[in-house]
Point group: C2
Chain length 331, copies 2
Amino acid sequence: MGGDHAPAEIVAGALLAAGPLDREIILVGREPEVRAELARAGAVPPNVTVHHADQVVEMDESPRLALRQKAGSSVTVCVDMVRDGQADAAVSAGNSGALMAAATMRLGTLPGVQRPAIAVFMPTPHGHRIVLDAGANVDCKPEHLADFALMGSDYAKHALGIGEPRVGLLSIGTESSKGNELTLAAFPLLAALPINFIGNVEGNQILAGEVDVTVCDGFAGNVVLKVVEGTALELIADLKSALQRSVWSKLAALLMRPALRPMRTKYDYAEYGGALLLGTNGVCIVSHGRSDRRAMGKAIAVAAHSVETRVQERLTETFRRRQSVPVGAET
Amino acid sequence: MGGDHAPAEIVAGALLAAGPLDREIILVGREPEVRAELARAGAVPPNVTVHHADQVVEMDESPRLALRQKAGSSVTVCVDMVRDGQADAAVSAGNSGALMAAATMRLGTLPGVQRPAIAVFMPTPHGHRIVLDAGANVDCKPEHLADFALMGSDYAKHALGIGEPRVGLLSIGTESSKGNELTLAAFPLLAALPINFIGNVEGNQILAGEVDVTVCDGFAGNVVLKVVEGTALELIADLKSALQRSVWSKLAALLMRPALRPMRTKYDYAEYGGALLLGTNGVCIVSHGRSDRRAMGKAIAVAAHSVETRVQERLTETFRRRQSVPVGAET
């Protein structure tokens, strides 16, 4: 029920994903509305089912308040199904704060993890890179950033297939003396972790592909994502209008179309669909509020992939090992 | 003496600016080194002079420490010349923290301004937009953001020629309930100012030209700038390599060159040269550390323009009016 194009595009996305996926897709929401969308789509594959949830958390509602007052909301019911083993993963394009709060409160965090984080795949010309936290925790303590670094490094190994992912701390200069109170205090904590910590990184280095996992608080992470998206969109629009100015450039636009097509795909958020919430006891995927059917289909695929690659089990193991190391022995 | 290409490119930039400018340009630094650069350039215009300063603050030095230990550094001497009326403005491509600290400590802030801020011109497809603070204050209090908003609005009126600049608070959602502790506390303060406050803005809205003045702490501002720069650079590089893949796209690249030239200029930081430090008792221009001669020439032009448009006097008047308003009467 969540997201700018719900429930129509969410249902359409589920139907898109249902074909290639050998899994059951459970649509959680107001049954009459969901069924109406399914009817509109025609034949419903046998692996798409509906689970009724009466309430909806709106996009601008306070997450904590909504969770307290709307125990029957689709996001809460969805997360509870993961907790109770009725589903392997939850996917939502709705109020991301509400998904985050529901996941934290009803699934709980992995032992040793203080705060879950949203890990997004950032498209760069050099391939995907991971940025976390992308908005789950707007105000962080240094220890939270250390947790994000450990989770991000672990996730990158399996999701990006990198042996020793380069983990960087987002700051405003590469020297360890540069940063704000938070990053200055977090720096030594990250340096003490059993990860490939490359120190402070600046915003441009993420795009240049010089870092695999960028660690920051959710405010900065969200700013990074929105700015990358905005710059890419505006540049491409600006280029298009520049190419309409003369006959020659119009011809150029025509000739370059095949070369540009893969670029457009590369920077399209819908290609990545969903970001994994790392650190909760169960797989939760946060989708873009603007998700269309294609994005939703991809998000469901990300959820299935996360379950199949056993992300949760691996993370649990990583944090278990960390806790069994005597304090100080890590450094 | 400051910046990645000092003193060669700094001196060359001064010579570039000296021609069209009806002002004296005083090169402050180690006289033998500066004279050597001038000798290399050949004829020196009469409006370029040299003022000796013995020491140099390095790019990675702690600003406050450097200022205490290096009273004879070029940045300190330069700022002192502004304080003592020997110069109308100071320009530096060196350690921006050192310029900021020298300006704050030796010039002092305008009455009513708690913290000066760096205001940068951000190139967007829709023209220039202002972002502040761009890195002077990495940790801010809500009142600082209110000062930035008032200074930024005032500056935009004169620098961008906008009657009622739209001022936005950088956040992670447009609703007033979205943000971190800092922005949530700053929101009502900005709303109470005699400015055209449009509420929270997200990173992509800056690029879309939907806001004239974006207010944020120096950490977030610096992240925004670096990410815009990085995304633009990487996208353009990616486009170029995409266009090398076939004969047709190579032809396209050739045909579109005239259309792309103005775009390249638009997103080139060197076209803007310098950012004004707003709120100190004297004009100080912070240049990009990577400044080449062209960027330095533009930075000197920005300094001259700031003096001529009486930015300081206008800001002083704005804050004087604010202080004379009884508390509460503004809202």
